[in-house]
Symmetry: C3
Subunit: 357 residues, 3 copies
């Protein structure tokens, strides 16, 4: 038998645009048990300092059974599982929306993921198309822990292949805050120790329009983003294969966007130390690529404050989290006077954060 | 007292060729308890995706008491312990053979190692000799978990020292498959979920002669191989000391060969996702050195398929696993028409893999 | 509201010299539960090989409830917590003294830290001053695990601010050995297996004046020191922000001094394998900065041997531990004939080590 034949038979070359169908469901491979080892690596890779995720007694005192793992680690692990089926042949990750965190994940929980194709649109060049998937993460026992929609531009195997009926899903730009974080334990605020958490500022202390410079910064190394991205079992070759990247337009390995998310979130501790939980990501855009050697800064703006139904203990803050590279965040770089993304902006995220009231 | 005297008294300078005797046994230092922390690092350093090692419920469903640690992590930890006694003054690791995995290792198990000298042969230049050792790894309770023979070229302290009677051990080039993997729990295949494992292909789906391009690749960084090699408490200075290496012929730190093994094994998931266990390494050669910055690809060839006595649940596949650097594995680079190792080949391994039937 | 106003309101810009008062106490943020994940990373980052910290059965056999975490990991975690309150605006860490380890820390323990200002002295240039703090680390239940004094040079916000009454604490240069390590379990030496520990040399085998070349060396990478320093939640920007450092005098990121401590301690295994516990640090100086790419060697000199009250099982050795960069430690580089620090010396530490008798 020929090499190509046998290779085709066993090697997963990923799906191409014409392989996707509306309603198609992928049960993604490799369930993953999250452990305190992953939590330690998460601290080492990003420097997270939120007390609820950092200390068992702090989490237990306020009502958690134990310290939950960082919300974005759950996001990365679930996202990573979807890569071999959805985006191995992706040209670009275009965006995500309607990301909701549905249950806390604890060390010992095992995560699995599935994705449903909810939109398809071929590009006018006939060479590629946009695939929209709704990805759901589940933990042992089947409880949903995370759901989000993302859309990616995927190559066609055969440009001549007929285009599908275009379907573009209706996505809300803002998750309704009323039903956020219903899965969180009821917090006993009398036992939430603000000095240990790192700040006295609660939900009510933030004003809409307020901007916060997170001041600190992190320079990213190749080994750091590779270790993190492998930890999530994300196999997208642009992150790992310098030999191939050197022959492409970027010349370098591209940092997985989730690394920028997690670094910006960790930096946001300085100014939002009590925002202990991300309840939802309304939308996110990776405005520009990040490479090893880049130094990331971050700032936040408070967009909205919302109460949560039946919860007197916590409130939601909608914030814009912006990460910039190789320039200070002190002047809050965001848009040019022409409304374009300002120089150095790499991430523009719209979040619902949960804080004690 | 003089510095040299006291240094000699306390510092381990390693053994030289004339220090070894046939039948000599070394109980190696530093027992090591393997934990979920090591497992997380193993994922982060190599991107392993085999479901049995990645998820407790998957392993338990098919009959394991819990998820075992990756076979090669056990190999690296046991190998690492032998370095201070056997190969601190090694010029080169020449090869290994008869490597058999004898029992699963779980987080919480503590590994120790011992080596017996089974062969000695002075080189004609009188400056060095080849030492053959049989190294055995044991876990808490004394059960053997791993055994292999390796041979290394070791410097002599005094070229004038008399040569030993040459003894060259008889090594089989192929471990008998009939007795492989007898230590594995009996698998309940009805509960082995192929989509979660990442491939539908079982033992019977592979044909002798079939070649599989594992397609993906990894570029290796200094920090990655150093962290991994330290994790195994391997102290060989060529991996860590740039100041000394810069003065030698290589000019660079040499990557521990076990890193290449583990990366090639992790890459082989794409094409061999159900090969959840390495039962034996018939032989292995590090054909060329690997350095930070190299990008590793891998491919496999099926050499033989064998049934295992008394086991209807699993079968053994003998495969050649080849790792190449800085060139694609799509054309299966291996030998030149003259029968020499092809350009870019760094590892040529002969394995017995276990798959569900 | 203006950006600056809101930023000032929420962002921690750190304390300046005139913000400190004698007797002021800081309860530092972010309690941290230490896990086997942190232990695995500690092994991977430094290559520690001391049997008591490496293997549960070894520790339990001699009387520990379980394997304790490395003493210096406890030091780094406690030190890291103090950074946002004490040294975010530090120009330099000038030294530490009276560091005593007061109780073993085990995986699962949660560490908190507090610091009291015990000294203040403005510099003659009126632009900065020296702040002395006594920092105490505690574990779950409130037991003290570590206490040390450190002094740092901190910027003034307003050079015009009036100087405080100078207070300089009296610090002993040598912790009294009689009361060291009283918290350690009584060791059953009949079960301390010297070959597994890596050396036959006990407390009584070391002579005052004896010098030991630890022979091995480690080249340090940016990713390694950043991962380690983040793991300890140390936020000092000089370690992480290449964009800012490139504009300063060093041009590079500065390696957190604790990394050099831990690497030198790990290297000291070769020659001091049975020095399983650091009981105290009498004093320490970071003689010169360390950067990624530097290769660290280490040597030790035995300064003093002391018995410990009521303990026949263990004895204390006072040693000087010297780390040098980019030159061999074989000739024990320390001081010039003029009494200055010798070329390449980066760390000069005065320790009390505990060994079996």
């Amino acid at each position: 038998m020929t090499a190509n034949k046998t290779t085709a038979a066993k090697t997963n070359a990923g799906n191409f645009f014409e392989d996707f169908r509306i309603g198609q469901v992928f049960e993604h491979a490799t369930p993953r048990t999250i452990t305190v080892g992953d939590v330690a690596l998460y601290h080492g890779l990003y420097g997270a300092r939120f007390a609820v995720q950092s200390a068992e007694p702090f989490a237990q005192a306020i009502g958690y059974p134990r310290a939950p793992v960082d919300d974005l680690m759950v996001f990365h692990v679930v996202f990573g599982k979807s890569v071999p089926d959805i985006s191995l042949n992706a040209i670009a990750n275009l965006g995500y929306a309607e990301c909701r965190f549905l249950a806390p994940v604890y060390p010992g929980d095992t995560l699995t993921a599935a994705s449903e194709v909810v939109g398809l649109r071929e590009n006018s060049n006939r060479k590629s198309g946009v695939v929209y998937v709704r990805t759901t993460g589940r933990k042992t026992g089947g409880e949903d822990v995370l759901q989000f929609v993302r859309w990616v531009m995927v190559r066609k195997r055969e440009p001549a292949a007929p285009p599908p009926e275009p379907v573009i899903p209706q996505l809300v730009g803002r998750v309704d805050p009323a039903h956020l974080a219903q899965h969180l334990p009821r917090l006993d605020l009398s036992r939430y120790v603000y000095p240990l958490a790192g700040s006295p500022h609660r939900w009510g202390d933030y004003a809409v329009g307020e901007r916060i410079d997170h001041a600190e910064a992190m320079t990213l190394e190749e080994a750091e983003h590779q270790i993190a991205t492998r930890l999530y079992q994300n196999t997208a070759r642009v992150h790992f294969n310098q030999h191939a990247q050197a022959q492409g337009p970027l010349k370098r390995r591209l940092v997985y966007g989730g690394i920028v998310l997690s670094l910006a979130r960790a930096l946001s501790f300085n100014g939002l130390a009590n925002a202990f939980h991300i309840a939802a990501i309304n939308g996110g855009r990776h405005v520009a690529p990040t490479f090893a050697g880049d130094t990331l800064y971050a700032w936040s703006e408070v967009l909205e404050a919302a109460e949560i139904e039946l919860r007197q203990d916590i409130g939601a803050l909608r914030t814009r989290l912006v990460a910039v590279k190789n320039r200070s965040s002190a002047e809050f770089p965001h848009k040019t006077p022409q409304g374009e993304d300002a120089d150095g902006v790499v991430l523009d995220l719209d979040l619902w954060l949960i804080l004690p009231r």
